[in-house]
Each structure stands twice: as C-alpha cells, then as structure tokens.
Symmetry: C2
C-alpha cells in the first residue's frame, strides 16, 4: 500500500483498464442512440439546490449532495439529469423541431453510505423524447433500451423489461373511489410491495379501504391493461421484441413525477437492482419552467455500475466486451532503434506513421535491442519495426506470429505496414 493521500469515500479512480470499460459502455450508449436518431447534450454537474426541491423527489431529497458555495449559494452536485434537462428544454425548445430526441451521458452524485454497488458518483445514460405524447414514443424508448442491451451482448433470457402504466392505478383508484392523494399513497404502497413486510402493507392498504388481496389481484390478473399499454405491446411486437417484455403492474417507479407508461430493465433472475428505468412524465417540463413551456415527455436512464456488474456476470456479454477491449488495446507499431546513429530517421518515421493514423511508440531513452523488444511486447504492439544501420531498409517483426518481413522507409511504407497489421 502506497503512502500518501486517499480519494474520498464512494468516489472511483478509473485506472486505464477501468476507463476502457467505461468507454466501452459510453461507445455503446452513443452508438445505439445514434441509430435511433438521438443527439447528445450536456448540462452542468452543479445546479441550484432549489431545482431538486421543486421536482417532487421521494427518496432523492435526503441523499442530495448539497452544500453552500463561497458565494452563499445553495448548490447541489446533480443527483440526476432530468431536472436540468427540463430547465434547458424550457429555455431553448422553440429553436428545435419536435419531437426532441435528446440523450446525455454524465456523472451524477448521491450522498449516501458507500457500499458494494452503491458509489457516491456514477455515470448515467439519459435518453429522452420530448414533444410527443403517444404510445409510439413510449415504445420507441423501450425498443432503444432493448437494442442497447442486445448491443452489449445480452440475449433473450438474460434480461426482461418489466412494463407497467401508472394510468392503470389512477383508473383503479378512481373505480375504488379514492381521492388523488389517496391514489398517490396507493402508488407508494405498490412501489414498496416487494420490499415491505406484508403486515405493514396490509395496514397501509386498510387505511385506504383496500386489501392486499385486492391489490395483488389487480397486479396478477388485470381485467384490461388499457389502450396505451396494448398499443405499446403491439408496437414492440411488430419490432420482434415481445420476448423481452413482461407486464408487471407492480412497477410504478418511486418518483412522483411519472404520469403514464413506466418500465424497468432487470436481469432475468432479478438478483440485481434495476439495470435501467424510466417512463412518461408529461407535466414535469411545465412544472420546471413555471408553466412557461408545456411539453409531453418520456425518458429512461441507465447507470454504469449495475450494467457493468451484469456484463461481467454474463459470460457471452463479458466475452463480447473483452474482445472489443482487446482489439482496442495496444499500439500498432513499436519502433526498435538498433543503431543510435539512425535516431533522427526513426523520429521522422514515427511522425510519418502517426500522421497516417498508426498508433506508434518507441523507447524515449537509449536501450538495448532486447529490452526494446520486451517493451514492444509490454506495449501490446502488433509489429516491432527495427530501424538499424541498413536504413532505409527496415525489418518488421509481427509479434503474434514471429514472422519477419524486410521493407523500406519509402512512400509506400504506411500501405505496406497496413497490410501486415491484423484487423486491417
């Protein structure tokens, strides 16, 4: 253990091998978003605390990473991005044709006790579709989440979309004669159904004039899913995605601002927390812009911590990731200087290769040829290119096969090397 400073509890260092995993996730997020016609935006990591007080928060508020800045402002390291998105969209939406298909990849923060899988910072991929209130938009987002999982190497049987609609419970409450407030209470009870002790649930439901049996019956044997959910299901079926969908009306999402279809992505065993989740929030933009802008909206978010864990636990997804990481690791060319008199020519050659896009490295200090070859191996080089006294004649050793070729530092050298490189 090295002496010296420590990082803060719950904050991660990404060593190169961790950063490569992070970047693999980000590249997949961006690629799938691009295929769906979404464009990237980014909002500040630090926001006025009032932004999160306004947006009804449930559990979130107690975990806010908030403080007072030097100027006496109450500020918060963002716990999520939707509030900032609402602020931004409220201010600039008139410049863009609707619907907005926007995504963001950024760090979020929660002040909670650090524990396995619960860091104080995490990256989140946020995908939002604004200005569209139809079931088609809900289906589009769910399809995007499914394609993201497939792109990450998951197959049917690895994960499931638990699909629900808050409107189902609003209708249920209305049939049972509940007030709006009571229906909100009911949603809170349904949200905690899997985690709460049965006797506590029963007692809370009794206060609303309901029984556990009644509510569980409504979840397990719904008489009708409603037009919206039926439409989402038909849409996803047309895309060939039905296998991934499981209607689960116990999913209502914790946050108060959801208004319609909601969904969560789970590993098939449901052994982890939700991998991703989201839904429709038609009134939030209006609330965040003080009624200035009224845009229906839906979105979902996926964090980097749980999905990384699930990839590493799923052999075929892990294998896909490893093969991409391996392909990206290591440089193309390691220049071995076998004759110190050729140093200037070797430097000129390095510039030529790099300008042509070849990842090229070399020893920055004089070293024996054997040591340079060892360094070439450590750098994961594909080719060790030896610059010696016969320059401009060069010797290229393909490190994987030990095959050797003689070539010349002429105008075709880049082309010649490209042919020798694997994956080209």
């Amino acid at each position: 253990m090295a002496k010296g400073f420590q990082s803060l509890p719950g904050f991660r260092d990404f060593r190169p091998e961790d950063c490569a995993v992070r970047n693999y996730l980000f590249a997949n997020f961006r690629e799938v978003a691009r295929r769906y016609g979404f464009v990237e935006y980014e909002t500040p990591i630090l926001e006025p605390t009032e932004l999160y007080e306004k947006k009804a928060g449930g559990e979130l508020n107690s975990q806010l990473f908030c403080f007072t800045d030097k100027g006496g402002r109450e500020v918060t390291l963002r716990p999520e991005v939707t509030a900032s998105l609402g602020r931004l969209v409220g201010a600039v939406q008139r410049n863009y044709p609707k619907p907005l298909r926007w995504f963001e990849i950024g760090q979020c923060f929660r002040y909670e006790k650090p524990q396995k899988g619960r860091t104080r910072e995490f990256y989140q991929f946020n995908v939002d579709l604004l200005g569209e209130s139809t079931a088609g938009a809900d289906a589009e987002l769910i399809a995007l989440s499914i394609d993201l999982m497939r792109e990450l190497g998951f197959v049917p049987g690895d994960f499931v979309i638990r699909l629900s609609d808050r409107a189902y419970w609003t209708d249920f409450g209305s049939v049972k004669g509940l007030s709006d407030e009571q229906t909100a209470d009911l949603l809170g009870i349904v949200d905690k159904l899997e985690r709460e002790k049965p006797e506590v649930t029963e007692k809370k439901l009794q206060a609303l004039g309901l029984s556990t049996e009644e509510v569980k019956g409504a979840i397990e044997k719904p008489s009708s899913l409603g037009e919206n959910l039926d439409s989402v299901l038909a849409n996803l079926e047309a895309r060939g995605m039905s296998d991934f969908i499981e209607i689960d009306l116990s999913i209502v999402r914790g946050l108060a601002y959801y208004t319609g279809v909601v969904f969560e992505v789970f590993d098939a065993k449901k052994s982890l927390r939700a991998v991703a989740g989201g839904g429709r929030y038609d009134t939030l933009i209006s609330a965040l812009s003080d009624g200035g802008v009224d845009l229906p909206a839906a979105g979902f978010a996926i964090g980097d911590v749980v999905i990384r864990h699930l990839i590493e636990e799923t052999p075929h997804a892990a294998k896909k990731m490893q093969s991409v990481l391996q392909e990206e690791a290591g440089c193309d060319i390691y220049l071995v200087l076998a004759d110190d008199n050729q140093q200037a020519n070797a430097l000129a050659l390095s510039s030529k290769l790099r300008s042509a896009g070849l990842a090229t490295t070399f020893s920055l200090t004089p070293a024996k040829v054997g040591k340079q070859f060892k360094q070439a191996e450590q750098a994961g080089a594909s080719i060790a290119l030896v610059v010696g006294s016969e320059y401009p004649e060069l010797s290229a050793k393909i490190l994987a096969t030990r095959a050797e070729e003689t070539l010349s530092d002429d105008q075709d050298i880049v082309e010649t090397l490209l042919k020798l490189l694997p994956n080209s």
Copy 2:
C-alpha cells in the same frame, strides 16, 4: 426568455450543437493520444482539499472551488488533474511497465468571477508521461501537442510553441549567487514580466541585486540554452517540427512544481491566453505520495474554451470542424409511412435497419405524407424511405438530389440502401 430556473453563473449548458463541438474536440484529443500510444484514465471530480494545499499552488489556491460536505469533510471540485494523477500513480504505478503514457479528459472547476472565456468549469485534456526523465520525453509531449493542433486543422503560422527551461534560470541564479529562495522569487518575476509594470519589475529585481536589463538580456540573448533544450530542439527538428518552435525563456509557468523544460502553445498573434501548457515536474509525484514513490514526470494540459475560440477564429480550422460536424449530423433514413395499414411492417423495417447500424427515424404519431417529408428534411435525413400500400415494394427518395429509386424490403435492403447513401 423562458420563465423558470437558471443555471449557476459560469456553468455551461451544452445544447446539441455545442455538445457536437465538445465531442469533436474530445475525439481529436483521443485520436492523437492513441497515435502516440497513450491510454485514458479518469480520477474523481471531487477530492480532499488537502490534496491541493500540499501541491504548491501559486494563484490556484484562492480560486479553489472548495466547501465542507455533509460529513464535515473539506472537499474541492478539482481545479486540475495532476494532483489526482499523482495520488493515483503513487498507489498503482508498480502494476504498470514504465514509462506510463497516460491521458485524461475531464471537467475542472475554478471559483472565480465569470467573464468572457473564463467559465467556472471547463474541460481539460491532460497528457502525462511518467517514469522517464530524458529530453526525449519532453520532446514527445511537445510533438503530441503540435500534432494535436495540426489534427484540429491548424497550419504553420497559426500557432507557436514557446519553449523554455526552468533549469536555465536555476543556472542563472546560481551564477549570480542567488539562494534557492531568491531563485524562486526570480522565476516569479520572470513569469510576470509581460504583465507587470516595468517600474515594479525593476524594484523587485533590485532586491535580488539584479537589473531588468540583465534579465531581459538573458531572455533575448542567451549564451547557451543548455544540453536539455538543445536536445529537445534536435529531436523536434528530426520530426520536421522546428517551424512551430520559438525559444522563449520568459516562459516559466506560474506553478511552483515545474522543474525543467516548460512550454506553452499560443496562437501566432499571441492575442489569446495560452492554448495549452505544461512541462517537467520531477519531484511532484514524490511529494504527493509522501516520498513513497519517486517518478520523474512531464505533462501538459489543454482546455476546451480557448481552443474552441481559436478554431472558430481560424477559417481553415473552423471549416475542417464544420465539415466533420456536418458529416455526423442528421440521420441516414427517415421512414415515411404512406399507408397506416403498413405500420407493423414499417416498425419491423426500422428494427432491421437500426440493427444494421443505419441511423433511422420516423414519425411516432400518424401524420400526412407531406408533413413526414418535411420532418425528414428537418431530421437531416439522407434518404426518405416510403412504406406504402405496395409494400414490400418501397420508394427511396435521396433528399439531396431528389432522385428516386424503387426497392424491395427483402434481405438485400440494407446493402441496397448503403449504396444509395452518401459517404459510403
């Protein structure tokens, strides 16, 4: 102006068009680093404040974005990355062959009065070479900075590397009989030479037994640059990079931790602040790890704000950026549904195209064909693909040329569309 919340002063929203510029910069940072065999890492955005108190800071300390967290910890939104890098490297360096070629792209924070070009947050590209004390390492970093500028579209005459060596002033101080402390004072005076009033400079120098004439003479007519600078110059000349270099011994960098060769990248007119800067800091890693790890090191950093400004002011660099952004903007295919009965087939087709990597979008709500064509234009689509009552026969309209082709939704459809797409 929309009602509602505002972001904090000095914190930027990146709308999609701004985020595209940011991502263009990041892509160039990553590409040039890759060509030089550097790997990416990332450290926390929030660190213990003591990390920055230890690292001698000059101007930095008064601008620290520091606060007390809920747990009573003194914490700081990082003003720069080198201190975190030192901490991380001190802890893990033994796992990696030397030298470490590491880079990082991340957000940094300074609590200062927001003004044009001085935001409270900015992104920084940090490139560091650790475990190598030779001039070859200094030259490698300078070459990387030059290649980055060229990759961004700058040509000779657009920018200049102002190259210097702190050792020159240590030697100068030693010849003049200055103590270590007096030499440090001298470096501070040289650093401010361009900005300070001449009479203040003269007075400060007098206190060291020196004159302005003497110091300016040492800058303008150095008797010898020293072995190190000569070696860096020869190295860069071999790479064909001499045109970009200007020896300028008045450059010493503000921060106390630099120990040798230092450099700054400036626009040729020197009308902006430095675009990038860095140098050798051989004792910092040892200081940050309480002497646990002693690694010579050098590095440089470039922020996103000044370089973006310089690109936009330099027509050929701006043009290069615009052409890349334009190529990336817009989707490939916009599906136009001309017959509502074909909706399921259109959805299935969208899945097929997206799975093949084509950026595909469509109206999520029923709309007239004319409106859908308008949306296709707004989405910057290359091809509007019409799904009508003749399905599986489709009509493809290339929007740039208005040319039309008839094709079929069969197994070759992706291939057929790829041939019709520009840039393919």
